[in-house]
C-alpha cells in the first residue's frame, strides 16, 4: 500500500511542476507585489485569485491553506505571524503573512516558460 501511495504521488506531479492552484497563488503573489504588497495574507490571495477569475466564490478554506502550506514546504513561499500589537490595535484576529521567495519567482518563470513552449509550437503549426 505504501508503494501504491508512492506511485500515486509520483504520478500526480512532475518534479518542480506546479499544480494550477499553486501556480495561481504564485501569480497572485507576484501581482500583489507589483501593487506594493510584498507580504500578503491568505484571504488576500483568495480574493486576488477570485478577482482574476471573475468568480464570486473564493477558493475553499481547506484547499487554499493546504496549498499555501505545500508551497511553503517547497520553499516557494515563506510566512510569519504579523506583530501581535497590530491586530490588537485594530481589534481583529492576527494575520499570517506570506512572501514569495526568489525560488517561487523562478518556479513561476519556469511554469510560464513551460506553458509558452507548446503555445508557441501550436501557433507555428497553425495554418496561416
Amino acid at each position: 500500500m505504501s508503494r501504491y501511495l508512492l506511485i500515486m504521488k509520483i504520478m500526480r506531479r512532475k518534479p518542480g511542476a506546479l499544480v494550477p492552484l499553486e501556480l495561481a497563488i504564485c501569480e497572485a503573489a507576484a501581482a500583489l507585489r507589483t501593487r506594493g504588497h510584498d507580504e500578503f495574507h491568505g484571504y488576500q490571495i483568495a480574493k486576488t485569485i477570485g478577482d482574476a477569475a471573475e468568480s464570486r466564490l473564493l477558493t475553499a478554506y481547506g484547499t487554499l491553506y493546504r496549498a499555501l502550506a505545500r508551497l511553503e514546504k517547497m520553499r516557494l513561499l515563506t510566512s510569519r505571524w504579523e506583530d501581535p500589537e497590530i491586530p490588537a490595535r485594530e481589534n481583529r484576529p492576527g494575520r499570517r503573512l506570506y512572501t514569495l521567495t526568489a525560488l517561487g519567482d523562478a518556479a513561476l518563470r519556469d511554469a510560464h516558460r513551460a506553458m509558452e513552449g507548446p503555445a508557441r509550437a501550436r501557433r507555428r503549426l497553425a495554418p496561416a
Binding site: H41, G42, L57, G62, T63, Y65, A69, R95, R96
Partner: protein, 176 residues
C-alpha cells in the same frame, strides 16, 4: 450579527476544531488562527461590498464544504499515528469485515433450503439467484404479467440429464 451568519461561523470553526483534533498543538493553533483571520477578513470585505448576511453565510459554508476533501487530506498528512499502525489497522478491519460477511451469509443460508444440488457452498448461485415469474394468463401482454411489487423466486435444481425416451412399442411383425 444575523443567526445565519453566526451559525455559518460556528460551523466553520467547529469543523476546523474537529479535523485538527489530536495533531501537534502548534500546527493546530496555526490552522485555527489562519481560518479565524480568513473568516474575519472575508466578513469585513463582504460587508463593505454590501452583501447580505445570509449571502455571506452561504459563501462561507460553500467555502467550507468545497474544502472538506483537502481538510481531510491535510489531516492525513499530519497524522500522529505511525503509518505501519494504520496499515495494520486497515488489514485487521478488512479481515474482520470478510469474517463478518461470511458469518452473515452463513446465517442466511441456514434459514433457506439449498439453492442448488452443489450445496450450501454455491456462492455464485447465492449472489445471482434465478428469478422466475408466474405464468402469464392466457391472452395477457408482457407488462401485465410482471408483478410490480414482488417477485417469486424459484430455486432451480439440476437433477442430471432427463431420462431416456421409452423404447417404441413392438410392432405385430416383431411379435411374430
Amino acid at each position: 450579527m444575523s443567526p445565519a451568519l453566526a451559525i455559518a461561523l460556528a460551523l466553520v470553526r467547529a469543523w476546523t476544531r474537529v479535523y485538527t483534533a489530536g495533531i501537534d498543538p502548534a500546527i493546530r493553533a496555526r490552522r485555527l488562527a489562519e481560518i479565524d483571520s480568513d473568516l474575519w477578513e472575508f466578513h469585513e470585505d463582504a460587508r463593505h461590498r454590501g452583501l447580505w448576511p445570509a449571502a455571506i453565510a452561504i459563501l462561507m459554508l460553500l467555502r467550507l464544504a468545497l474544502g472538506v476533501h483537502d481538510d481531510l487530506c491535510w489531516r492525513i498528512e499530519h497524522r500522529t499515528v505511525p503509518f505501519d499502525l494504520v496499515r495494520s489497522g486497515l488489514w485487521t478491519a478488512a479481515a474482520a469485515s470478510i469474517a463478518l460477511l461470511w458469518l452473515v451469509i452463513s446465517a442466511l443460508q441456514t434459514r433457506e433450503p439449498p439453492l442448488s444440488p452443489v450445496g450450501t457452498g454455491n456462492i455464485v448461485r447465492m449472489l445471482y439467484p434465478v428469478h422466475a415469474y408466474p405464468a402469464a394468463p392466457p391472452g395477457a401482454t408482457l407488462p401485465t404479467m410482471l408483478p410490480t411489487s414482488s417477485a417469486v423466486v424459484v430455486h432451480v435444481t439440476f437433477k442430471g440429464a432427463p431420462p431416456p425416451p421409452p423404447p417404441p412399442p413392438a410392432s405385430s411383425d416383431d411379435r411374430r
